[in-house]
């Protein structure tokens, strides 16, 4: 069976396709979340170094990973939108940004609340922490720029330029910060790694990561659908939709 991908590249078909996919992803996200949390709180053993505090890992690591992954995805779709003038991909990019920023914030927040009991401080200027902070700023920059532009076409393109420039910079930032840090006498504290992670911990973390992923897909699909409606509200198909039920 061949699928006509171009069909789904039109906002209208995507709108309906996404609508049909949503329930499955939602169910998946909720299931994974429950399973992940169950493993995290009731199966995974106590860490012999960090005690129960390590349980923050089940949101911290998924959030940190998602924040980085989503930025690349966002830049990719924004770039596709810029290069091929496909409206849908730009809309997806704009839909990703808030969720990515939310995860970046969560990684920062949970990291800080983990750092306080483990390192005795909310924050250190460590390479990983610093580059996560900068990633958060890049998200904020992307969103502020798009928010400041009224014309959606211009907002898409301008956002794409800054997302692409940012994605080039992320590795540069990451390595520069890492190097900057090692030049000093080693930071007074460093990431405490449990020597060998118990399988329950690892699987909990991975399942929570999958849950975060599914959650991102759900939210991004919903947001993309909203953006599609907002932007296409004068087209015939939205008017038809309006006559029926707004589902």
């Amino acid at each position: 069976m061949t699928i006509n991908w171009f069909k789904y590249a039109s906002p209208a078909s995507f709108y309906f396709l996404a609508g049909r996919m949503l329930p499955y992803f939602t169910a998946l996200a909720i299931t994974l979340l429950i399973v992940g949390l169950y493993i995290g709180f009731f199966v995974a053993p106590t860490d012999f170094q960090q005690g129960e505090a390590y349980r923050i890992i089940f949101i911290h690591v998924p959030a940190a990973w998602m924040s980085m992954f989503l930025y690349v995805v966002m830049a990719f779709w924004a770039g596709v939108g810029l290069a091929f003038n496909t409206r849908l991909s730009s809309m997806v990019a704009s839909a990703i940004a808030p969720t990515g920023a939310m995860f970046a914030f969560l990684a920062l927040w949970t990291g800080a609340w983990w750092g306080k009991p483990m390192w005795g401080t909310w924050w250190v200027w460590d390479a990983r922490l610093t580059s996560e902070l900068i990633l958060f700023f890049l998200y904020i920059g992307f969103m502020s720029l798009q928010a400041a532009i009224d014309d959606p076409k211009r907002a898409d393109k301008a956002g794409a330029v800054i997302a692409l420039v940012g994605v080039v910079n992320v590795p540069i930032i990451y390595f520069s910060v890492q190097w900057w840090n090692t030049l000093h006498q080693g930071a007074s504290v460093s990431l405490v790694q449990s020597p060998k992670m118990a399988t329950a911990m690892l699987s909990g973390m991975l399942i929570m990561t999958l849950a975060a992923w599914m959650y991102s897909i759900v939210i991004i699909l919903i947001r993309t659908r909203l953006i599609i409606l907002e932007r296409e509200r004068h087209t015939a198909w939205v008017s038809e939709l309006k006559e029926g039920v707004l589902e």
Binding site: A112, T121, W122, W123, V124, W125, D126, T130, L133, F137, I140, S144, A147, A148, V177, W180, N181, H184, A187, S188
Partner: protein
Amino acid sequence: MIWWIVKRDLLLAMRRRSDVLTTLFFFIIVVSLFPLGVGPEPSILRTMASGVVWVAALLASMLSLGRMFSSDYADGTLEQMLLSPVSLAALVTGKAISHWLVTGVPLVLMAPVLGIQYDLAGDALLVLTLSLLLGTPVLSLIGAIGAALTLGLRGGGVLVSILVLPLYIPVLIFGTGAVEASSAGMEFGAHFSILGALLLVSIVFSPWATAASLRISMS
């Protein structure tokens, strides 16, 4: 009338919700830049903290001064303000108040979080925040004079900083002084009294001076 001006400026700020946020993020980013420049040593950072936060607040407040009158000037609204039968000093007070609401208040609210990045203790955080609360309105009021004087001059954005930064220095010194005194376990009430006095003086004199400067710039 003051109310109309405040309302209008807030409306303008809200029209771009990002406006308020951006000043705030500027502040956050500047404060976060310093550790990158200076290095991650916590003990050094702690000594710098109040200085960096205060200097960043100064800069954030100063940078937005440009916007205070320039767009009103460019599109002729200011001309109309000068021609308005209402007292110019009142109009100007309105502008200073809205400037503070849009730029100062968010900084005050954000300061504790940034202090944590520099590993400040709870007490010092509180004093830092209070000193900003007393000091930032002074920045807006003094800044208004500078903004009015440099109106329509090319390079005004930088010129204004030369004019106002020297005037900001007392605020900076007493603001950071309070924090340092409290970190050192000393009495910081005197610093606060002086900040309060600066605030009163600027509330009384700045609208008048700003109105005069505006008239000079526009004639």
